[in-house]
């Protein structure tokens, strides 16, 4: 199940450039995304859109990131989906990002499974895979800088499925910077 989603996600990342039209532009952003605010994490985002942002506010996006739950686990994740941008005046905007393609992998420091007979064997790269769709809501503020065009911040929700038979929402708070676009 997890490998299926991982393949889908990798496929989306690889074919993303094909979605754009001839005048496609790309953007990158980097964010501190703290789980519950204080568990540290970083994310990098990749955006591709065919027309200028103001004419086509819906763009393709993908993200790769991690956060650390101290004493418990390291978590790696990736999403892909669409982002909608609503302008709030000339300098500011509000983004809604929905990523139905998502995968999440937790990594434990050390884990053992107990065998019949009572001995335990160590597990290599222990952790769990989850299907993990994501959504986020951020406010962006334009900056007058050659390399960085905006600062944004807002919450991000990641949903881990199946978690103890149900879904576990994870809350991250993002503070990030968008780098200036480049044509490709």
């Amino acid at each position: 199940m997890q490998r299926y989603w991982l393949i889908l996600l990798i496929g989306f990342w690889l074919t993303n450039p094909l979605h754009a039209q001839e005048t496609a532009t790309t953007e990158w952003d980097f964010a501190y995304a703290g789980n519950n605010l204080w568990n540290p994490g970083l994310q990098v985002g990749y955006f591709k859109h065919g027309l200028s942002q103001h004419q086509n506010p819906i763009i393709y996006q993908a993200r790769l990131g991690f956060y650390v739950d101290p004493q418990s686990q390291f978590n790696l994740f990736s999403f892909a989906g669409l982002q909608y941008r609503a302008s709030l005046g000339q300098r500011n905007h509000f983004d809604i990002r929905l990523s139905p393609f998502g995968v999440f992998r937790s990594f434990y420091p050390e884990a053992y499974r107990v065998l019949e007979g009572g001995s335990a064997e160590k597990i290599f790269l222990p952790g769990r895979w989850y299907y993990a769709p994501e959504c986020s809501f951020t406010f962006g503020f334009k900056l007058k800088n050659e390399k960085i065009n905006q600062l944004y911040l807002g919450p991000q929700l990641i949903f881990l499925l199946p978690y103890d038979g149900r879904v576990l929402p994870i809350l991250n708070f993002q503070i990030g910077l968008n780098l200036n676009s480049s044509n490709s």
Binding site: V44, P70, Q71, S72, E110, S119, D164, G165
Partner: protein
Amino acid sequence: MRVLPYAMIILLSLVLACGQSDLSQINETIYLRHNGADMPAYIHGNGSKKVFIIILHGGGSFGLAFRSAAIQEELESRYAVVYWDQRAQSMSQSNQSSDDFSVAQRAEDVGALISLLKTKYGDDSKLFLMGHSWGGTLGTTYLLQPGAQEQLHGWIMADGAYDFPLIVDERYQMLLRVSEDAVPNANPLLEQVWIRLNTDLKSLNQDSIQSNPDLLSPFVVDALKLLQQDDELLPPDNTGVYQSAILQNNPLYWWLNDRRNRPYLDARDDGYALRERLPEISIPSLFLWGRFDFSVPPILGEIALAEQGSTDKTLVILEQSEHLPYLSEPAVFLEEVIAFVERLK
């Protein structure tokens, strides 16, 4: 951009490479994978003597909730303490549904944890099991499994809920008794409040209490408030616990898991009872109970002392505590635990 993958690999390696060979100060997180669940055990303290105290947390709680400042100072300086998140609690993870979270499965997990500790730290490790409240239920269930008692040097039960029908009956009787006994010595301002509490209790239908134990909850809350106002109860000292709950544990995982998985309520509703099997337990045992524990009345400690099959068993009542004696009277609580462990290790 090229730096990012390498940075993530380095960070991952640092997180994974958390093992250490110096047992005098252990600070490790080890996950137990057993029957579909991954359950973390946070091990802190002095492992140089290879004495481990495994804590089975209570209902709605989590392993690190026990890691108060007093326990860090008194227990971890002497022994290694294992703070373990049980199946479907706090940071534990699985892909199972709640149908698989039976008491028997959870007790089996305790055995698996013990096997893990012996594999990692050696068969010569001296293990003590300490269960609080629901952890008492779990520990007692585990001890009744074949071969379980031989794995341990001692059993410490603090306010252990090993018989749920008995708890409900005794809670009502205890509320009546405490409210009657309080009146002669009560603060004059509180005397009438105690009398009213007692009168309201007597008006309850006892049959309806057994079918709906939550009827007593408001009376318990009121009684505890009155006892505190009357200076009969010491408030819990949570120093270190909030830090564990919020910064070292993930509160969202804890809260959601507790909302969706409450084995102690399932056990209560199923009438889970182990009193009749207490004579089968012969391991050296220490029972610690809060005198004003309405959640698990101290008469269960007296019954355990009388009926458990151990010849080496002691009951200590902490006179100014309710359900959390390790937080209300940590000095007395830990003194008893240390004396017990030192004698048997």
